[in-house]
Symmetry: C2
DNA sequence: CCGAAGTAGTTAAAAATTCAAGGAGAGCTC
DNA sequence: GAGCTCTCCTTGAATTTTTAACTACTTCGG
């Protein structure tokens, strides 16, 4: 009878009333926040939040560049999605592609000066939005708890052993 | 010199190192989780997470129906987005529209029997996914903290209090 | 060196979302 | 009741994301 315990045959583990309220709050907050930041950045920087995050990550990287796959992993998005995103950012002149000398399949996404300039001009507004929407409203204890909780959830969903096949990271 | 304190002229309130780590974890967790649930539901129920949430809300409503605007507000999405979503769900036969007798502009979104059936069959798998990704990994205290934190953030972004996030305009 | 298998990245098409605009009815004022 | 404004919802186009191939290159095992 070991199969009685599989998800498909056993009694569903419904959420408690309290858990349902937590989950609803989570959905509401994440939906509203992502929407809020998307609009803020679309208005002030001309790009959605995810794209902005790509530029930030490039800016923080050595020589302002990253391999496509590596950038996709940092941003937690698919390579396909990244390809489209970089194509769009390239059209804006904020990123350029560069061939990887070591691996002829490889591409670097490189932050351009124009891209750096956009970041410089819009970063303050974006941080301010994040501060007002999140950190200003939470106690230091809550901030700490949030970090811990999100770290745990993210770890549990991390694509398994990704990076094991990325030699240049080791 | 009161304008010295506007966001555009004063020194940006950068995030502390610890806050940056919290924020990064938040982005990672929410991105991975939404992606995870989208795939789970796309595979098992043939629709993205947001659409699933619409059916759930309808199922919980009196007479399994809700005015479009009301549903949009519950789901925290725009009416435009909801229009498209309901159109798609209607094509699947899971929702139908009904005219509102009181207000000729109004429309009800009504959950069909087929829609209820999809929900019945896929709800267990979805709850299980949420349990495994979130609640199984958190202590009761963390679950409580998460609820409180998300409630605070969501409240601060509620459109009803629009302008609350623009203190420099007051 | 050869071939099989795996990896890096792109692409086209389909689906979803945003954005701006608009039609139609409700409600308010004079 | 005419005009004005506001609300409800939809629509079409543009943008973004997903999905499923697909090309080109690398690596591994012999």
């Amino acid at each position: 009878m070991e199969y009685m315990n599989t998800a498909s045959t056993s009694e569903p583990r419904w959420l408690s009333d309290e858990q349902q309220r937590v989950w609803r709050s989570y959905i509401d907050a994440t939906t509203l926040l992502e929407d809020h930041l998307d609009r803020q950045l679309q208005r002030d920087a001309g790009m959605p939040h995810v794209y902005y995050g790509l530029l930030v990550k490039l800016a923080d990287s050595p020589r302002r560049r990253l391999r496509m796959t590596e950038l996709a992993m940092y941003a937690k998005i698919t390579r396909s999605r990244l390809s489209h995103a970089i194509a769009r950012l390239e059209k804006n002149g904020w990123v350029r592609r560069e061939d990887c000398p070591d691996d002829k399949r490889g591409q670097f996404a490189v932050l351009t000066d124009a891209g750096g300039e956009v970041l410089r001009q819009t970063a303050p507004g974006h941080v301010e939005a994040v501060q007002q929407a999140v950190f200003d409203r939470l106690t230091p204890e809550q901030q700490k708890a949030l970090g811990e909780i999100m770290r745990i959830v993210a770890e549990g969903l991390q694509p398994s052993e990704a990076g094991a096949d990325l030699p240049w990271l080791r």
